[in-house]
């Protein structure tokens, strides 16, 4: 009993000491990512990228003379949890700025909390158009909205001679938003839109949807979802003998993981991505890309995660740059400063432009989009 009491005392003391020092000497950045559930792989990669950025900044002396501290919370791939996590980070951890929340539905669930507590968030991955068009002035997005992806894809539509296209998308804001934006672009180009099939984010068996697509008269399927479900789709499509051209969107494909897990089923598939870790010299900032990839490998992470993790790295650097520019770690000052930053991101310069209804615009930077193709188990570039 005495021993137990002693232990409790020690823990309490340690917590109090640690809490005090951490509060005084660090600047906190809240990280709201899916570390379990359907998007666990992607969220974990983003967090690992975020840690590289934090360590790099701290090694150079931190910002405003203080070290930055990432307060990482798991939103469980669940919108309700994502909103709860944001509330906890803001009210209990007192973070002045957040990064998150990976998925569009997760980010959309967090957005009212940002309004309520007037705290800005750097959105690193989500691509639903709604995020930057509904008038939330606390949103600063560094990933491309699906309309930008669709516009980038427009150039190659003629080269691929698309005639009729089916969609298989995740049944949430991300997937349905993509189907909408791509359909619109393609209809303008005179392409016929066939089936639009959806799947739940946790679904593991897509055979029914794929069987339906197999019997349609389209020649191409656009697939939008994250890497784990994509792997299953490629395997199941191969098992069904589906021979159509498959193009994926969304930038969360992790092509090397697909090659490793889906094997030959991945050959001939094309992917719209937002980073080119395979060809560092073709990226907008080759030096920064080299540094990031070297550091990623040094930490023993799988190379496949690079296409996802770079967003965590860029997101934290964006938040840190804004804190530095603001001169103090306060939400209102950081929000104002985010409009003035100009940093060299791994996928283009991060500069926010206004988007959405006047007076309450969100910030949107303009990253690059690339089309890659997997052939013989290797990633190759397609020119857009």
């Amino acid at each position: 009993m005495t021993r137990a009491l002693g232990l409790v005392g020690t823990i309490a003391l340690a917590t109090a000491l640690f809490g005090a020092t951490a509060g005084a000497q660090t600047i906190k950045i809240g990280v709201n990512e899916p570390l379990t559930g359907a998007f666990a792989a992607s969220g974990t990669y983003v967090v690992n990228g975020a840690k590289i950025a934090a360590d790099e900044i701290n090694a150079k002396g931190g910002i405003l003379g203080k070290k930055i501290e990432l307060v990482i919370e798991d939103n469980k791939s669940n919108p309700t949890e994502a909103a709860a996590v944001a509330e906890k980070l803001i009210t209990s951890d007192k973070v002045p700025v957040l990064m998150g929340a990976w998925g569009s539905s997760l980010t959309l669930a967090v957005m009212p909390k940002l309004m309520e507590y007037e705290t800005p968030m750097v959105v690193e991955t989500s691509s639903s158009g709604k995020i930057t068009t509904t008038g939330n002035p606390f949103i600063f997005r560094i990933s491309p909205p699906s309309a930008v992806e669709a516009a980038a894809f427009k150039g190659i539509v003629d080269k691929l001679a698309l005639k009729k296209v089916d969609f298989l998308v995740i049944n949430n804001d991300w997937g349905r938003g993509t189907a909408e934006d791509f359909s619109k672009m393609m209809k303008d180009k005179g392409i016929t839109i066939g089936l639009v099939e959806t799947m739940d984010q946790g679904a593991q068996d897509m055979s029914a949807q794929l069987s339906k697509i197999k019997s349609s008269d389209s020649e191409t399927v656009i697939v939008t979802t994250a890497v784990d479900q994509l792997t299953l789709i490629f395997k199941q499509a191969a098992a069904l003998g589906l021979k159509k051209r498959i193009i994926t969107t969304g930038g969360s494909q992790n092509p090397d993981q697909i090659i490793a897990q889906a094997g030959a089923a991945a050959n001939g598939t094309m992917h719209l991505t937002t980073f080119l870790p395979w060809f560092p010299d073709k990226t907008p900032n080759p030096e920064a890309t080299d540094y990031f990839i070297t550091e990623w490998k040094k930490r023993g992470f799988e190379f496949a995660g690079c296409t996802e993790s770079f967003r965590g790295y860029d997101g934290i650097r964006t938040a840190a740059a804004a804190i530095e520019k603001a001169g103090k770690a306060e939400p209102a000052a950081i929000k104002a400063a985010l409009w003035d930053i100009n940093i060299k991101g791994l996928n283009g310069d991060i500069v926010f432009r206004k988007s959405g209804p006047e007076g309450k615009e969100s910030g949107q930077s303009q990253p690059n989009v690339y089309l890659i193709e997997i052939n013989d188990g290797k990633v190759g570039m397609k020119t857009l």
């Binding site: 570390l35 739940d200 946790g202 593991q204 055979s207 029914a208 069987s211 792997t231 299953l232």
Partner: protein, 290 residues
């Protein structure tokens, strides 16, 4: 027409595994009357055993399957001995709460040990599917179907044609009389729960390599297992098998011809209909009450 045939083939391979999930739960929920919330975790557990044996220890896929079944049996027996035995005779709510606790604890344990990122298992089956005219199916799925059919048959024979099975049915019909007739009821409780658990682990071990393995994979599986048991009638093995195929058919045709967005809802619409029109299940026989 070819699309319809493909849907039917998909239904067969999916239904086989649903049936396997259903019979494990119908033994525990239907015959033992324990609302077993750990069924999904045991399914997950079986899949992770496959991952350990095949990917981490580098052993043969076909050796890993019986290992997973045995591990599921042992974990099931342990749950019965430590959690359910002290609670025997308590009301259904208490048992249910304890099982919910066990479910959360075990799922968190899985997350703690293996992390949230999905794992996959390599199989010895060829990637190229078997093509028969307009339909094609992967060899792995065919193997899973065959293995599930075998396990279902063995369970059926065990319950209906062995003295253990007879003792099981007697014990859960009338505990005291069975005991007076010389049945070791403690042993029957433990082995019934262990057999049901090993079937859940077997389903996980067979389906883990087909899909991917992650800590929450059992949640949806458990919900479907409960649906199948209710569909087929509590404690009815043949009913659970039929329920598995009906659920698979509803999902396939629902996704294929109605809307894929409501795929998982199709099964539950059927359950609602069954509960309204035949609340004892589609295949329930007249039962003596009291």
């Amino acid at each position: 027409m070819s699309e319809f045939l493909q849907h039917l083939v998909n239904m067969l391979v999916l239904g086989g595994t649903y049936a396997l999930l259903g019979i494990g739960l119908t033994l525990i929920f239907g015959i033992m009357n324990v609302v077993n919330f750990t069924h999904g975790v045991l399914y997950t557990f079986g899949a992770y055993i496959m991952f350990i044996v095949v990917q981490q220890l580098g052993l043969n896929f076909f050796i890993a399957l019986p290992v997973a079944v045995l591990a599921g049996w042992l974990l099931g027996a342990a749950i019965e001995l430590t959690l359910l035995r002290p609670l025997r005779g308590s009301d259904i709510d208490t048992t249910m709460l304890v099982m919910i606790g066990a479910w959360i604890a075990m799922q968190s344990g899985t997350l703690w040990i293996w992390g949230g990122v999905a794992k996959s298992v390599t199989t010895p089956f060829p990637e190229a599917p078997l093509v028969l005219g307009p339909v094609s199916v992967s060899w792995l799925r065919l193997f899973v179907l065959a293995a599930a059919a075998m396990l279902i048959l063995v369970t059926y024979l065990l319950i209906n044609n062995t003295s253990l099975g007879r003792a099981m049915r007697a014990t859960f019909q009338d505990h005291d009389t069975a005991s007076l007739m010389g049945v070791n009821v403690d042993m029957i409780y433990t082995s019934t729960f262990a057999i049901g658990s090993s079937l859940a682990a077997a389903a996980g071990a067979l389906l883990g390599p087909v899909y991917v393995i992650f800590p929450q994979m059992g949640d949806l599986a458990a919900v479907k297992a409960f649906a199948i048991v209710i569909l087929g009638g509590l404690g009815n093995i043949t009913g659970a098998v039929a329920g598995g195929f009906i659920l698979a058919l509803a999902e396939e045709l629902g996704a294929g011809y109605v809307s894929s967005g409501y795929r998982d809802a199709m099964g539950f619409l059927i359950i609602i209909a069954v509960l309204i029109f035949r609340p004892t299940g589609l295949f329930a026989r007249a039962e003596r009450v009291g």
